[in-house]
């Protein structure tokens, strides 16, 4: 595999290899000298056309821990704001000798275009494209689920996960549905009908409009952020109604199994999809997700860049 564009491209073996590698990375960086020499001399470009805190910093830390050189390239303050096209940006990166490009773009499919348009030789890693995919987020979610529900090298077969909220605008949801189903988990999407994409019935997972009905039998609940910035019309009558029907608050959390866990990809809208009390509950693993994100991204960078250069496949 040369690029990581979609979790749908990952076989069960690929996915387990990434998770196992991430587990080793976690052990290797749990010591005083956190740096590994593996990607010495390689250049990783973080190409971010959209705002991000967690993902960009996480990729930067991951690349630096593997001794790669990191160039951060944000659309603001670059020639993109002067109207440079994706192609010309890509050609510039190619000329500067980037080995990997971590790309986040508001348009779905931009990383695919970058990987397959023959503009660059570099490995392309999708760090979130529009409402399409965010594969490393799904991998870190699966890693967190595995660590808590199946043991460090256990299997997620049969584990029940509900993904709740703004599925329509969520690249995290799509990536998670593909990956978790590959890993054998039982996924249920929970959202109001207006926030489910057309064709969701072909995703192969269960769909429900009723959060309370689904909640009691889940091993994990993944809350999605309501993406106000992508909403150009009214998808629900009011914030209050949304949070009453689809938000996770303390009374609702009390109906979950006692060993069930809560994930959220961040950033959270406290009081909207998740109440502040639930967000700070010990069963909510948002902070751990961030830590795991670094290990998963180290694993992805190592597996894609650490070996022999593959010709584009």
């Amino acid at each position: 595999m040369k690029h990581l564009l979609s979790t749908a491209d990952l076989s069960l073996e690929d996915a387990v290899l990434i998770l196992d590698t991430a587990a080793e990375m976690a052990l290797l960086t749990d010591r005083e000298v956190k740096k590994l020499p593996t990607l010495r001399g390689r250049t990783v470009v973080n190409l971010f056309f959209e705002d991000s805190t967690r993902t960009r910093i996480s990729f930067e830390v991951a690349a630096k821990r593997l001794s790669a050189d990191v160039i951060n390239f944000a659309a603001k303050g670059s020639s993109i704001s002067k109207g440079e096209s994706l192609k010309d940006t890509a050609l510039t990166l190619q000329a500067m000798g980037a080995d990997a490009v971590v790309v986040r773009h508001p348009s779905s499919g931009a990383p695919y275009r970058l990987a397959h348009a023959d503009w660059i030789d570099a490995t392309v890693i999708n760090a979130g494209d529009g409402t399409h995919e965010h594969p490393t987020q799904a991998l870190l979610d699966a890693y967190t689920l595995r660590a808590h529900l199946a043991g460090p090298t256990g299997s997620l077969r049969g584990v029940r996960v509900a993904i709740v909220g703004d599925v329509l605008h969520s690249r995290v949801a799509r990536s998670n549905v593909h990956l978790l189903q590959t890993l054998g988990a039982k996924v249920t999407l929970v959202a109001p009908p207006t926030l489910l994409p057309i064709g969701v019935e072909q995703w192969g997972c269960a769909v429900s409009y009723d959060f309370d009905e689904v909640l009691a039998d889940q091993d994990a609940v993944m809350m999605l952020r309501v993406q106000g910035e992508r909403m150009n019309q009214a998808f629900f009558p009011s914030t209050l109604e949304y949070s009453r029907l689809y938000g996770l608050d303390t009374p609702r959390m009390a109906t979950m199994g006692t060993n069930s866990i809560v994930l959220h990809p961040g950033p959270m809208n406290r009081g909207m999809e998740i109440s502040a009390d639930v967000a700070d509950d010990p069963r909510s693993l948002m902070v751990e997700q961030v830590t795991n994100g670094v290990h998963v991204r180290m694993a992805v960078l190592y597996l894609l860049l650490g070996g022999m250069k593959e010709s584009a496949s």
Binding site: L17, L28, T38, G307
Partner: protein, 180 residues
């Protein structure tokens, strides 16, 4: 499954492990500061067996662990990325200890170089020694073993395979002509 000449059988390997264990405790004057680190895969099983033998000799527990060298190899770019193997540094660490690296076959010396680099990131041992079951020669780096189970003169065309009970179901060292 493996064609070739058996140069060590089960009892030869058992004797070699026993002798290596005696030599190691003799040189370290006891086992209290000793840490045995096996290089995966077969170095780990070897180090476990040496640790068990030393425990018998000294009637004292020996720290033993594993050290994966994959991320420190100098030939990463020559092959597709490999899966990582477990690293387990024993509780108590390696700081100011005498670390004995254990591997099955010593050949070019490049794995040992990588292991020394990996060790450097874990801590600063008082001394590092090298124990191998088979030394087949043809070093490419200035590295020599301190404890050797068997010196085995080979040509670079040959392939030396170590099989161990827990990993492969049988104890044997086999030399075969490599088919290229």
């Amino acid at each position: 499954m493996d064609h070739g000449r058996v140069v060590m059988d089960g009892s030869d390997i058992a004797r070699a492990i026993r002798r290596l264990s005696h030599e190691i405790v003799e040189s370290t004057k006891g086992s209290q500061d000793l840490v045995l680190l096996g290089i995966p895969t077969r170095g780990v099983e070897l180090s476990q067996r040496i640790a068990a033998a030393i425990e018998e000799i000294e009637s004292q527990a020996v720290s033993q662990g594993s050290l994966d060298i994959t991320l420190y190899r100098d030939d990463l770019r020559l092959k597709p990325a490999r899966a990582l193997l477990p690293t387990a540094i024993p509780v108590g660490g390696i700081e100011d200890k005498i670390v004995v690296l254990v591997d099955d076959v010593l050949y070019s010396g490049r794995s040992v170089r990588a292991a020394l680099d990996a060790l450097n990131d874990v801590g600063r041992p008082r001394a590092v020694r090298l124990a191998v079951l088979v030394d087949r020669g043809h070093r490419q780096l200035p590295i020599r073993p301190d404890f050797v189970g068997k010196n085995l003169p080979t040509s670079t065309q040959q392939l030396v395979r170590v099989h161990l009970r827990d990993t492969d179901g049988i104890d044997s060292v086999v030399v075969s002509e490599e088919v290229r």
